[in-house]
C-alpha cells in the first residue's frame, strides 16, 4: 500500500493545495504530483508541481502518462464567479475534465479516482428532497450542478470502462479564508439581500474539512459518492445577523436589481448561490463516518461565524514603484 503515486489536478487552488499538504502527511503516499494553471497557494514539502493550462491537452497527457499515478484526485473545477465568469468556468472545467480524465484512462497503474463534486447535483426543483442522501437521483437545476454532474458521469463511465473505483466527493458550499467563494463574498458584503418569503436553510463546509474528505476518500479507495458538509444549517437572515450585516429583504423581481448591484460591488451572485438563497441547499452527511472514517467536526453556524472572523484582504502598496 505504501509508496503510491498520487496525482492532484487543480493543486494550485486553495482546496488543491490543502489536499496536497494533507497528502504529504500520509504514510501511503509516495510521489505526489500536481498540475494546475496557477502555482500552489501554500508551501509544499514533497509535492512536485507543473504549470499547465487546462486546454493544453498534449502537455497534460504527457505529464500524467509519464507519472502513471495509482490514485488521482481531480479537483480542477471552477465554481462560477469564484475566479472566472460562468461561461469561462464551464469552459475551463470541461477542458480540464477532458484533459485529465482522458489522460488517466491511459494509466495502467491506476487504482482509484476521486473527483470533486457538490451537493448542487441533487437540484432544488419544486418537490425535490429536502435533505438528499447519496442515493438520491442526480437532477441538477443550476449551471454549476450540471457541470459537476457531467464530471461525475464522465468519471463514472471511465471507471466502469477501465475497472477502477470512482468516488465523487459532493461538497456543500466551500468556505475558507482564502477560498474565492461567491457565497462567502456575498455574505460578507455590508448589506446582504435575502429572500424574505422563503429564507430557506443551507449547509456549508469549511475548506479544511473538505480537504480531509478528499484525502480519506483517496486513502480508502472509496467506490461510491459521499456528501461532505458541516452539521446543522443556517438561513441567510441568520447568517447576516451573526455577521452584523444589514439585511435587505427582497421578494421577487427586485433580485435582478440586487444581482446587478452586487456585481458592481464586486460580489456577483451566480445561479447556484441564487438558488441556495431561494430554495435552500441541504444534504444528508450521516454516511461520512462510515465512508470516510470521520464525521463532520463543526457546524454550519460555526463555519459562518469563522467566515465573519476571517480578516479581509489588505492591499499594501509597494514601497517603491518599479513599473
Amino acid at each position: 500500500m505504501a509508496g503510491r503515486r498520487v496525482l492532484v489536478s487543480g493543486m494550485g487552488g486553495d482546496l488543491g493545495s490543502r489536499v496536497a499538504a494533507l497528502l504529504e502527511q500520509e504514510d501511503w503516499v509516495g510521489d505526489l504530483l500536481g498540475i494546475d494553471a496557477d502555482p500552489p497557494r501554500r508551501r509544499l514539502q514533497r509535492a512536485r508541481f507543473h504549470l499547465a493550462s487546462a486546454s493544453d491537452h498534449d502537455r497534460i497527457v504527457e505529464l500524467v502518462t509519464a507519472f502513471d499515478p495509482h490514485v488521482v484526485v481531480h479537483l480542477s473545477v471552477w465554481e462560477p464567479f469564484s475566479r472566472a465568469s460562468p461561461k469561462q468556468a464551464r469552459s475551463l472545467t470541461n477542458q480540464a475534465a477532458i484533459s485529465f480524465l482522458g489522460a488517466v484512462a491511459e494509466c495502467r497503474s491506476l487504482e482509484s479516482l476521486v473527483v470533486r463534486s457538490g451537493i448542487e447535483v441533487y437540484g432544488r426543483a419544486r418537490g425535490a428532497a429536502t435533505r438528499p442522501d447519496e442515493s438520491a437521483a442526480i437532477t441538477p437545476t443550476c449551471e454549476f450542478g450540471h457541470m459537476l454532474a457531467t464530471i461525475e458521469r464522465t468519471a463514472g463511465d471511465l471507471g466502469r470502462r477501465i475497472g477502477v473505483p470512482v468516488a465523487p466527493v459532493r461538497l456543500g458550499g466551500v468556505l475558507g479564508p482564502h477560498v474565492p467563494s461567491p457565497l462567502g463574498r456575498l455574505l460578507r458584503m455590508p448589506v446582504v439581500p435575502f429572500s424574505v418569503l422563503a429564507d430557506p436553510p443551507f449547509a456549508v463546509v469549511e475548506d479544511i474539512e473538505a480537504a480531509r474528505g478528499f484525502v480519506a476518500a483517496a486513502g480508502r479507495r472509496l467506490a461510491e459518492p459521499v456528501n461532505v458538509l458541516a452539521n446543522g444549517a443556517i438561513t441567510a437572515l441568520q447568517a447576516i445577523s451573526r455577521g452584523s450585516r444589514v439585511p435587505y429583504p427582497l421578494i421577487g423581481p427586485d433580485w435582478r436589481i440586487a444581482k446587478f448591484v452586487a456585481e458592481l460591488c464586486g460580489a456577483p451572485i451566480p445561479e447556484h448561490v441564487l438558488e441556495t438563497l431561494h430554495r435552500g441547499r441541504l444534504a444528508d452527511n450521516s454516511r461520512m463516518e462510515e465512508l470516510l472514517g470521520f464525521s463532520a467536526s463543526g457546524s454550519t453556524v460555526e463555519v459562518i461565524d469563522k467566515l465573519y472572523a476571517w480578516p479581509s484582504v489588505v492591499h499594501v502598496p509597494a514601497r517603491k514603484q518599479v513599473a
Binding site: 501554500r42 425535490a128 422563503a198 480537504a211 441568520q238 447576516i240 450521516s286 465573519y308 472572523a309
Partner: protein, 237 residues
Amino acid sequence: MPLDRSDTAAQAASSAAVDTGSLGILARWDIDDWGRDATMVRAAARLANLRWSTTIGGHDRLPKIGGAIVVINGRRFGLTPWFVALNLSNKVGRPVRFVGRPDAAPFGALARRLGGLLARPDEVAGALRDGQVLIVGASGTFDPRTLGEIDHRLIGPAVELDLPVFPAAVAVSQTSRSARIEIASAVKPSPRRRGPLAELELTTRVGNRIARLLKEFGGARTGTPLDWLPFSGMGGD
C-alpha cells in the same frame, strides 16, 4: 499556512457580533439539519395553546431515542399534522416533525421551519434513519369521526427500517378549547410478509386501530351531559 486554525478569534468575533447586533435574537435561533427552527416551533406551540387546551395520552409509548412514525386522522383544511407535531414536541421534549408540507413560499418555508417534511418516501426514510419522530396524517375528511386514506408509501420506510408505527386519534374542537390526542401502542408488521404487502397490511391495521380509537372517543351526542358543556376539556363537537 497551518492546516488547523484556532477557533478563539472566530468565537470571540461571532459572540460579539451576536450580542451587539440589532438582529441578535435572530442569530440565536437554531435551525437543525432538516430546517426546523426550535424557537419558531416553541412560539407556534404557545399560540396553539392559547387557542386549544390539549390533552395528550399515550405519549410515553413513543421511544426516547430513535425513529418512529405516528399515523393520525386528519380534518380537511385542519392542519392536524402540524398541530399534533407542535404539541407532541412540547410533551415528549424532542423534535417531532410532520410529513406533508407544501413546497412553495411562503407556506412551504414556514412549514419547514415548523418541522415539515415533504410527503416523499425517500424523505421519510432519510428522517427515520436520522432517528426522527414523524407524524403522518391520513387524507383530510369533513367528518371528524371518519378516517381518510393513509398513504402506505409513507409507512413503507418504517417497515424497511424495522421501526415502530403508532396509530393515534386526534379530536380537535372547532368551537371550544378542547383538543385530544391519544396514541395507541405500536402496530407491528406481519412476520409472514417479506415484500411490499407488509406495508400495505400494516397500513390497513393502523387505519383500523385509529378508527377504533375514534369510536372510543365517542361524540358530543354520545357522551355524558357534562361533555356537552364547552371548556370541559373533553368531548365537544
